[in-house]
């Protein structure tokens, strides 16, 4: 059953790619992508449920579908579905109809590579999949062919390629370290690495893990390796930004979490967890510094992504079932909320024809209904109840207070206050400040651009009020399967 589901999951975007490339007509490409998104979303839920009972290993140990992978697949599929609906409405505004089939092909290709990364059992092949995501998304980032977009795409590919080459070095060192235990030729599955990790020479293990952390941290957007993130997320078209923020960062955190699970239980575990916490806090600090004085609307969202990745890293680093649960719940909530924010930002940019926060004023006049959604999303992303991010951040905080990282948790709380004030100050200005006289911005309403916002907002509200017990069980299972149950 799970195999069929996985096949459908991977074949749907593939079919969308083929249809887009072969037909070369933007309408067909749009509908194919939306269909693929919806199919993936519908398939990922039973897939997650079906692997609760046990992970599935397939194709000569190369493919692994476990609960963790299933959860990240769910997050990615949600963003894929919502973004593909939004993209239909948004990309039509760009007046680039001839290039749209290529765009949708790249879009589905991007999703396909991310989904593949989630099911890879071999650490080396995982790296290859992540590298492929970089290559495909570069062209998405530079899609608009402006000077800024090309510059952003260049910075993206250079910084991220440099970063993940460090991750490759770390992977090779992991392989080498474990080859003393498992022999010179073996399949580098996560389970094999975790089995041999306690017997590997500790300094070697630690250096390998730190390299992997920095490498995949570059891809995930942890500071100080985040320098590509504001540029790439702000210059790409809004649906692509949502995918980058909501899906790609999650796939990279998957890599970090799996490697963290490999070294948990060994003698370097404390240092490794401390390193992850350190990066998390540093991301938080950097993000806040740049949020407070930000002038671009999408850059603001990008730095908010850095902040939330910091929260996820904190959750992983604090450790324990609670920390893991917080981080995982945060993955889902952040995907939903950030997609909402980017859709709103995309709408605002198109309406006001500018990326500056200073030119966006009196949003409620232009977007009476979706403007309310956007504002509520902003309150949610700043971490306030009753939205879901509050619950996940609170859980991470609890995990921090329990363990030995009280200082980090206290810093976290203080910085959250700063984020709340800083982030919402921009929104207050956008919504309630006086607008300069001039022609009112307007944008024709279409369901394509508003429906995804509703679809992102409602689960956010529901999950903020009710944490399903089933999810608790799933998170516990993830913790035990990834971290080995020992801490």
């Amino acid at each position: 059953m799970a195999r069929e589901l996985l096949s459908i999951l991977l074949l749907a975007p593939l079919t969308a790619i083929l249809l887009s490339l072969v037909s070369r007509r933007s309408r067909i490409a749009e509908y194919a992508t939306v269909a693929a998104g919806v199919i993936d979303l519908l398939v990922s839920i039973p897939l997650l449920l079906s692997v609760r009972s046990g992970s599935i290993i397939w194709a000569n140990q190369y493919i692994l579908v476990d609960v963790f992978g299933g959860w990240v697949i769910l997050c990615i599929s949600i963003v894929y579905a919502l973004s593909s609906i939004y993209a239909v409405g948004y990309m039509r505004l760009l007046n680039e109809d001839e290039r749209l089939p290529a765009f949708y092909a790249l879009f589905s290709g991007f999703t396909l590579t991310m989904l593949m990364a989630c099911v890879m059992n071999n650490a080396g092949v995982f790296w290859i999949a992540i590298e492929l995501t970089t290559l495909v998304s570069t062209f998405l980032v530079g899609f608009e062919r402006e000077a800024e977009s090309t510059e952003a795409a260049w910075k993206y590919i250079v910084v991220v390629s440099g970063g993940i080459s460090l991750a490759l070095l770390g992977t090779i060192l992991f392989y080498w370290g474990s080859s003393f235990v498992l022999g010179p030729s073996y399949a580098m599955t996560w389970a094999a690495l975790r089995l041999s990790a306690p017997k590997v020479y500790p300094p070697l293990l630690l250096i390998s893990f730190l390299l992997v952390l920095v490498g995949y941290g570059t891809k995930a957007g942890l500071a100080p390796m985040h320098t590509w993130l504001p540029d790439a997320h702000s210059e790409s078209p809004a649906p692509v930004s949502a995918m980058l923020s909501g899906a790609l960062l999650n796939a990279s955190m998957l890599g970090i979490a799996r490697f963290l699970g490999v070294v948990t239980g060994t003698s370097v575990s404390r240092f490794a967890h401390a390193a992850v916490v350190g990066f998390g806090i540093f991301s938080f600090v950097i993000a806040i510094l740049f949020i407070v004085r930000q002038t671009g609307i999408k850059r603001l969202m990008a730095y908010s992504s850095v902040e939330h990745i910091g929260v996820q890293a904190l959750g992983l680093g604090f450790g324990g079932p609670l920390g893991m649960a917080g981080a995982l719940y945060h993955m889902l909530n952040h995907s939903l909320n950030k997609s909402l924010m980017f859709y709103g930002a995309g709408n605002a940019m198109r309406a006001y024809r500018s990326k500056d926060i200073g030119s966006i004023r009196r949003v409620l006049k232009v977007f009476p209904v979706s403007g309310i959604l956007w504002l509520l999303g902003a309150i949610g992303i700043a971490g306030a109840p009753p939205f879901a991010l509050f619950l996940s951040e609170f859980t991470v905080l609890r995990a921090g207070m329990q363990g030995s990282y009280r200082w980090a948790a206290i810093v976290f709380v203080l910085l959250l206050i700063v984020v709340f004030i800083g982030f919402l100050a921009h929104f207050r200005a956008m919504y309630f400040d006086e607008a300069p006289e001039g022609d009112i911005a307007r944008l024709p309403w279409t369901a394509w651009r508003t429906l995804p916002m509703w679809m992102a907002f409602l689960p956010l509200l529901v999950l903020g009020l009710w944490w399903p017990h089933g999810l608790w069980i799933i998170f516990h299972q993830v913790f035990h399967s990834v971290m080995g149950g020992s801490q």
Partner: protein, 226 residues
């Protein structure tokens, strides 16, 4: 393990090839002309292919011969050819602005090699008869990483940055040939082809840079700040 049983002749051959590759990295670090940069990279790739072949010969992993041939072809011929095409098309011959003088960057590179040696020593202390080749391979792998990032930082031409990224990968490849020759073939081949795709993507991007941003020097790509 293979490395525990090598004799001095094999150690000499591996050491010589690896050290010459490192030297070529220094040549790349110190050269201003993009042509020399690309030729040094090609020579380095050939040396690494020779290293692959000799490891395959002495260790009995016959598939390394295939890897050696593929490396020599793709990294040694196709990649430099693609890069020279990009250089010709861009009509840039040399690095105009040097952030760091040649001699300073060579000295920093030497310090980086020494630092890498210290780390490599520390990492391999566990094995009782740690062959010198192991420490050398680790040193060179880490040193080429440092030198690659150094090149990435101080150079602003787009082609130089591409080459710096390729040097990073070359370093890893070199180290993995000596340290883990038994790594599954699939991964090695895919990494090899991955590089080809990377360079193709870079080629396209560089063209976009020229057309839309008007320049390939990252010194002038400063529209996105904050």
């Amino acid at each position: 393990m293979f490395l525990a049983h090598i004799d001095s002749l094999q150690a000499s051959i591996f050491s010589s090839l690896a050290i010459l590759s490192l030297l070529l990295t220094f040549v790349m670090l110190g050269s201003h002309w993009l042509k020399n940069y690309v030729y040094a990279f090609a020579a380095q790739s050939w040396l690494i292919a020779a290293l692959s072949a000799s490891v395959g010969y002495f260790s009995g992993y016959r598939e390394l011969y295939a890897i050696a041939v593929l490396t020599a072809l793709f990294r040694g011929l196709v990649l430099p050819w693609l890069l020279m095409r990009i250089v010709h098309r861009l009509n840039v011959k040399r690095e105009i602005h040097a952030v760091l003088q040649t001699s300073s960057s060579l000295v920093i590179g030497a310090c980086a090699v020494m630092f890498a040696f210290v780390i490599a020593n520390h990492m391999s202390r566990q094995q009782q008869g740690a062959a010198h080749v192991v420490i050398l391979a680790l040193t060179i792998m880490l040193a080429m990483k440092f030198l690659g990032f150094l090149m990435l930082s101080v150079r602003d031409e787009a082609v130089s940055q591409i080459l710096a990224l390729l040097v990073l990968e070359n370093g890893i490849f070199l180290g993995s040939q000596i340290l883990v020759p038994g790594m599954p073939l699939l991964i090695e081949i895919v990494i090899l082809f991955d590089l080809l795709i990377v360079v193709a993507c870079f080629g396209m991007l560089v063209r976009f840079l020229v057309v839309h941003a008007g320049t390939t020097s990252s010194r002038e790509l400063n529209r996105l700040v904050g």
